[in-house]
Symmetry: C2
């Protein structure tokens, strides 16, 4: 359980001044080699001490035979020596007074045999008795840009911090989320891959994140939890002040079988987890895409967002399926007021469009004054709480890359949002998917970044936008019943 | 109803030797201007006659005051004059002996008023009596690369033909599918945006496509159908020899409201359409992504594909959620045989992996001999019918772009497929999503194209791969009950 002292200890864990890389190597195919090069490439500002009994220098840094030989204090040790050598490395860490060991090494309880479990218990006991906290084993460690730390493969993660925390039982997903976040505008306070969690577990991390002023949104990839009651209580508590977005994997037969061999935890049944989400108010997502999309929604949407959406697109098919997508995600597609419809009729050409909702421009590319006029008119309609606009990326294809006034179009949704104080969500579908269309895709990403930096969430498909908005609204509208534990 | 004569007529419709562009313009913001420039850019080989009473030359071509003034025969007229001028244009087409008119113009029955409907009936009657078949009105026309034809916005579509036909009640989706297909390896026999379908409708097109030797896979975006019984019979008939993949939109309350104003058809209820899919054996998809993915599966998978999948990935979280995704899509994730597990243990490092199914390499990047060894071992397991591999794109990030042996890794799945005659499916997640990662994304697309050209379906996520494979297997395993009409 994380006490007040524990919180201070966690601060030291996330912001080490010095890191020993135990099992450092020049071979980037080895975990120790990859982590050392990642840490240096990422730009860790503190001291880095490679530890390897067979080297005097690694990647230009003086190497030490053991942690004991390091002449200065060590806050964190990242351990990637073979499993059987981990207890000795931990004993050296304890003797040295290391605060935390991130044990990347696998070959512990996830093996599913007595030997692996015994070894893990031995390691945990050394940590407990020697005052060394443990992340892992069988993990990728911690990414905390403010601390200058990165995950085992995270050489090129964003160096800026952000309000999102991610705790992940999978090292792979910790890496994917941190990496994909680069293009989605999501920035992190902390990402923790905690693996087998022989000491610090998902509940400990959650308790810390509830108090952590750097964290506003808590996200998690969970396969199974160790102490269901404590975890449930903490998620319910966290959800009162910070959204907790959870991707729970391993609920199918095949998935739960895989959980056991991955992190030696119990997956639990669908019924148990359904009750968990009902009780706690956590936001449930299924898959990395939905996790990212929902995080984007929470980052950019505020209390002024409502579920009555005005959908604006070009080419009627988009509108029909857009209405389907919105309704399936729990949104409403209200009829526009007669006044709005009348005004739209004066702006849009007489045919080939729709002034109902979804509003169909009749073509995927329209002149800027029409785009502006329609957006302003729909934004003025009091039946509409939120605008979803699906009409920008085609300009890139037809005009943007030929140096015309693409910027003028692009800025209209931002101007309308500001003028009417009505939230806008952008859908920016890929339009160039072939090898030769790299420039179109790059332009599309620039447009996405423009909207994200203007505080407007942007998604590649309407389906994903609607789902993310639906998830956001479900969290917000929830009147949390006091869970009875 | 399409008779034998009708089929021959359809051949002429799809392969016109000469096209009159009625309402041609130099302004690409106008439909007539965009279509003329599209047709020329696409490279139509036949004669093109711009028709505009106020111009003598458009885009370097001699312009005619009316269709009547064109001195040579005209097979197809593409009409984009205002709605009220369409009857006169149609009369001229009839007098000229034009085979088919594609009427892009909107402002007919989709307006929902008596006037629009009356005008559409007038136009249909002129066509019927004058022997001019009609595509539309309120549509984007026909893309038929073998005929040199393209849709209204289709200036840059693939010029190669392929076995996929797409009939779409939405011009927008006809365009999106044809355009996105560029990067997905899907090539088309015909794409038809048929809009209000005042003459040629979805059932006529279907009847033609059943007989069309150029078409092997029929895909459709449907909002509502005119003659439910005939359409159902034809889809059931088609499904016996060619898969029919249908995205039915407008089934929610909001969606069905939008259908009426889009193409003036009736959306129908969920129950009716559930029965339709049960009866006909058509493959049901929801959304453009699933439509594309499922088409890719049908293009590349054969009768040797089975639903017992061996999943191979790196980083255990992928494996757990991969198992979830597969089971949710109706696939099986069988336990590997004891022999297979034993052999895998000799290849993989002693820890940090899983030799169960999903097989976890323990890292997203492994040496080539390990990749080959694991793939060959799993391919040899008789419990496994199909391999899904999620392990290649990370090479791009860590090695590929730095000029090392990325090709060696990339080719392994193809070699294993060939050696063991066991189908392989690739999952190639995006790894670089930021503006600066354009090169990584381009490399990823190259790898995707390599697999597609080797006959291996490739998808960006495991979820999408599993869904596409599930859809394929559902069609194939179906013992079609003779539908009782």
């Amino acid at each position: 359980m994380v006490s007040i002292d524990g919180l201070a200890e966690f601060e030291r864990i996330f912001h080490p001044q010095s890191v020993a890389v135990v099992g450092a190597s020049t071979d980037v195919n080895k975990f120790g080699g990859r982590f050392l090069s990642s840490l240096l490439a990422f730009g860790f500002k503190g001291k880095v001490y490679p530890v390897n009994p067979n080297a005097s220098e690694i990647l230009g840094l003086k190497a030490y035979r053991s942690v004991a030989d390091i002449p200065e204090p060590v806050d964190m040790a990242c351990i990637s020596v073979p499993a059987k050598a981990v207890p000795q490395a931990m004993r050296e860490c304890a003797a040295k007074g290391v605060t935390v060991a991130a044990i990347f090494t696998a070959g512990f309880s996830e093996l599913g045999d007595g030997k692996g479990r015994q070894l893990e218990e031995e390691v945990a006991a050394i940590g407990r008795e020697g005052g060394v906290r443990i992340v892992g084993p069988n993990c990728f460690g911690i990414y905390c840009p403010a601390g200058g730390l990165t995950l085992l493969p995270g050489y090129d993660y964003p160096t800026e911090t952000g309000p999102v925390a991610f705790i992940s039982q999978s090292g792979g997903f910790a890496n994917f989320f941190a990496r994909l976040a680069k293009g989605s505008g999501i920035r992190f306070s902390k990402v923790v891959s905690y693996g087998n969690a022989c000491d610090i577990n998902e509940a400990d991390l959650l308790e810390y994140l509830i108090a952590d002023p750097e964290t506003e949104i808590i996200t998690a990839y969970i396969e199974g939890v160790r102490d269901g009651r404590r975890f449930t209580e903490l998620v319910a508590k966290a959800s009162e002040t910070k959204p907790v977005i959870i991707w729970k994997a391993g609920l199918t037969g095949a998935g739960s079988k895989a959980v056991a061999s991955h992190t030696a935890s119990l997956a639990g049944t669908e019924a148990v987890w359904n009750a968990f989400f009902r009780k706690t108010g956590a936001v449930r997502v299924n898959g990395l895409e939905e996790l990212m999309d929902t995080t984007i929604a929470f980052l950019h949407l505020g209390h002024d967002v409502g579920g009555a959406v005005g959908i604006l697109g070009g080419g009627g098919g988009i509108s029909v399926s857009a209405a389907d997508d919105c309704e399936r995600s729990g949104l409403m597609v209200p009829t526009l007021s007669p006044d709005t419809q009348r005004t739209l009729r004066t702006i849009l050409p007489p045919a080939g469009n729709s002034v109902l909702n979804p509003v169909d421009f009749g073509a995927p590319v329209v002149p800027a004054p029409i785009l502006r006029g329609v957006l302003e008119t729909v934004a003025s309609d009091e039946n509409v709480e939120t605008l979803i606009v699906v009409l920008i990326t085609y300009y890139l294809l037809f005009f943007g890359r030929f140096g015309s006034n693409a910027d003028e179009f692009t800025e209209i949704p931002v101007a309308v949002r500001d003028k009417y104080s009505k939230p806008v969500i952008m859908v920016l579908p890929e339009v160039g998917t072939e090898v030769e269309a790299a420039e179109v895709e790059t332009d599309r990403r620039r447009v996405r970044d423009y909207y994200l930096s203007a505080g407007i969430p942007a998604f590649p498909t309407l389906q994903r936008a609607a789902k993310a908005l639906g998830n956001f609204l479900q969290y917000r509208s929830r009147k949390l019943p006091r869970p009875a534990f």
